[in-house]
């Protein structure tokens, strides 16, 4: 028993020392910057842009980094992608520190936590690195610019337009949402309700059910919706889990092709159901364009073309000209509609 105790405490001591050493390493700026990544530092003529997604190996961010790399290649900069394996709040800090030590010109981040990485970003910023956030923002004072994928109004309107088009602008529709307390979804639903009432008087929203962003619950709720509303013509599911589950149920039911389904989904989840005709079109933003725009915005910041003031404008290659809105945000635009013609161009 004694020996075991001693061993345990020795182990604890080792762990403690190791964690201290690691923290010291992460926090110490004066350390010589020659990390294993061995990048030759920023400066020079080429604009160096580092992408830091929430985590690596995530198809969504693989796609946004692809767009970012395309943009950086276009303007002849150097592109690097780094990131943690898991999307935990403080996992990004060490990567921010490393990028700051390397003196990269711009860091493009999708924040795992609006607060946790702020100190690290501040340090990088004072070392001269421009900070652009995309997909998930930090607190506004921690970054120079936020690239917003879509506005709530845009998302709500795109889904209403899609369902109106698919059911011929008349009939009963229902909404399959995430959890009953999901902030984003509730905001969108409120706007969709208003939009339906105002612009689509013949569409009647008969029910809103909650699938809790769980495959199984969403699936069963879809079945119940179809049971309890025999005249249902369309379902809107403003959540990627919900729309995939609903599509799976519809694809195996008598209602396939009779009840339209649209909402927010990802191409990989929906490919099967778009191909078999269960779903004709659904919306989401295009992460590739998002990364592309973020890279161009970073370049504009580094070159001093924009400073993040409201009203600043810059060119973003093939996407055209963008204007900085209030709170130093740039809006990508209307949500992107995926259908049978374009779904195979995407892999996320």
């Amino acid at each position: 028993m004694k020996i075991r105790n001693r061993r345990v405490s020795a182990l604890a001591a080792v762990t403690l020392v190791a964690s201290l050493a690691l923290t010291a390493c992460g926090g110490d700026d004066s350390d010589s910057g020659d990390d294993s990544s061995g990048s030759s530092g920023g400066g020079g003529d080429a604009t160096s842009v580092t992408f830091l997604p929430k985590n690596l190996g995530n198809p969504y961010f693989d796609t946004s980094s692809k767009g970012g790399k395309a943009a950086v290649d276009e303007f002849g900069g150097t592109f690097e992608e780094v990131g943690p394996d898991t999307a935990s709040p403080d996992a990004q800090v060490q990567f921010i520190n490393t990028a700051a030590q390397q003196g990269v010109n711009a860091l493009v981040v999708s924040a795992n936590d609006p607060e946790a990485i702020c100190d690290a970003l501040d340090e990088a910023s004072s070392a001269g690195t421009k900070i652009v956030t995309f997909d998930s923002d930090t607190n506004p004072e921690c970054r120079d610019l936020f690239i917003n994928q879509a506005t709530a109004e845009g998302i709500a309107k795109a889904q209403v337009d899609l369902i109106a088009e698919q059911i011929g602008d008349a009939g009963e529709v229902a909404i399959l949402s995430a959890a009953a307390n999901a902030t984003n979804q509730n905001a969108w639903i409120e706007m969709m309700e208003a939009d339906l009432k105002e612009n689509h008087p013949d569409i009647k929203l008969v029910d809103t059910v909650y699938g809790d962003d769980d495959d199984q619950t969403s699936f069963d709720k879809t079945a119940a919706l179809l049971q309890s509303h025999p005249d249902l013509k369309g379902i809107i599911s403003p959540t990627t889990v919900g729309i995939a589950a609903a599509a799976r149920y519809l694809s195996t039911s008598d209602f396939k092709g009779k009840v339209s389904l649209t909402g927010l989904g990802t191409p990989n989840q929906m490919r099967e159901y778009v191909k078999d005709g269960t779903v004709t079109a659904f919306a989401l933003w295009n992460p590739e364009d998002l990364g592309y725009l973020a890279a161009y915005a970073a370049k504009a910041l580094v070159d001093g073309d924009i400073s993040g003031e409201e009203g600043d404008t810059f060119e973003a290659g093939k996407l055209g000209e963008f204007t900085v809105d209030a709170d130093a945000t740039v809006l990508l635009g209307e949500p992107y509609v995926f259908n049978a013609d374009n779904i195979d161009d995407f892999d996320f």
Partner: protein, 348 residues
């Protein structure tokens, strides 16, 4: 040794006794409630039973919980509980998807067998921990619930298995029917029949009841207690593994929250079906009917028009009613036996 029996043979005629037993049997009572629920819902919405989708879903939706509840019952009968089945199900479901995406062309039967073995291995861990450390199964399996879920989260991350990753034949199995009976339901019923037969007739099955009734007496009597308990956990794990494969075939999508909370539904189904939570009594038939009732009530309530928020409350009330009823009947039984003993003493 006296030659008087503790309880005299019943003077009631055999027919009357059988009828009385049937009337008192929990299986019949729960079954009657189930029939009532289906009948009432069908009156409200005939397609609940009579449409192609309705009939199929009535049989198909409960089969996942049916398989879990059968496994859970075997463990509960031994006065243990397995809370890790939800995580085991999720982990196996992801494993199933990975098998298909990493080894295209793998035979479907092989996937079922591997899923069973994978689940059995996870169950073996539970069984060994419980029988070696002699710690309450509640605690051990609560631990493995989190450990298995953690492994799942680490393995899957934000990745998910999409319908497009799996062969069409496997997905078709999710809705395939033979003589209008879904194949997955047939699998569930075969499992039910096999386990029910074992528990009712086999020596090993009866020993499980003996262990649950009085673990100390079972040890003194020389029953292989540890071996039987490990066996029960392995069976429960294997069935949870099978349920994982069934889950994948049915829902076509697996993300890291698959099976979340299913363990409590499985316990709930068993308890509603008359399986005593402290072991020693109950049948898998009861648990199976409990599973059908639980799932069908969940499907019926939205059709009848009861709001989302009340549905969980109804399920909770059902569980509490079942347990209170149990308590009431066993207290009455106890009073009767005590009275009978007193009477005999007085008579002597």
């Amino acid at each position: 040794m006296s030659d008087t029996l503790l309880v005299e043979p019943s003077a009631v005629s055999p027919t009357k006794r059988i009828v009385g037993e049937l009337l008192r049997s929990r299986e019949i009572a729960v079954g009657a409630v189930f029939v009532l629920v289906v009948a009432l819902t069908t009156i409200k919405s005939p397609s609940f039973l009579f449409s192609h989708d309705g009939w199929r879903d009535l049989l198909l939706t409960p089969c996942l919980l049916l398989i879990l509840a059968v496994g859970q019952t075997v463990v509960i009968i031994t006065r243990n509980v397995d809370l890790s089945v939800g995580s085991t199900l999720g982990l196996t479901a992801y494993f199933t998807g990975k098998l298909f995406s990493d080894h295209p062309g793998i035979p479907i039967v092989a996937v079922f067998v591997l899923g069973l073995l994978f689940g059995a291995a996870l169950g073996l861990v539970n069984g060994l921990l419980v029988s070696i450390f002699r710690v309450p199964a509640l605690v051990i399996t609560l631990g493995t619930l989190y450990i298995y879920r953690g492994i799942f989260l680490t393995w899957a991350g934000s990745d998910r298995i999409n319908a497009g990753d799996m062969p069409k034949d496997f997905l078709a199995l999710g809705t395939k029917t033979i003589l209008t009976i879904p194949v997955l339901t047939i699998i569930g019923l075969v499992v039910l029949a096999a386990v029910g037969h074992y528990l009712y007739t086999a020596r090993g099955g009866r020993e499980l009841y003996a262990i649950g009734s009085d673990p100390d007496a079972a040890v003194l009597y020389g029953l292989p207690v540890s071996k039987r308990i490990v066996g029960a956990f392995v069976l429960c794990g294997a069935l949870a593994g099978l349920a994982g494969v069934v889950y994948t075939a049915r829902y076509g999508t697996v993300s890291s929250n698959a099976g979340l909370g299913m363990e409590l539904q499985a316990v709930g189904a068993a308890v509603i079906g008359g399986v005593a939570i402290f072991g020693g009594s109950g049948t898998v038939w009861g648990a199976a009917i409990g599973a059908f009732l639980l799932v069908t009530i969940n499907r019926a309530l939205p059709v009848v028009g009861i709001s989302d928020f009340w549905q969980r409350a109804v399920v909770g009330a059902l569980i509490i009613a079942a347990v209170v009823l149990d308590r009431f009947f066993s207290a009455r039984q106890e009073r009767r036996l005590v009275a009978a003993r007193e009477e005999m003493r007085n008579a002597r």
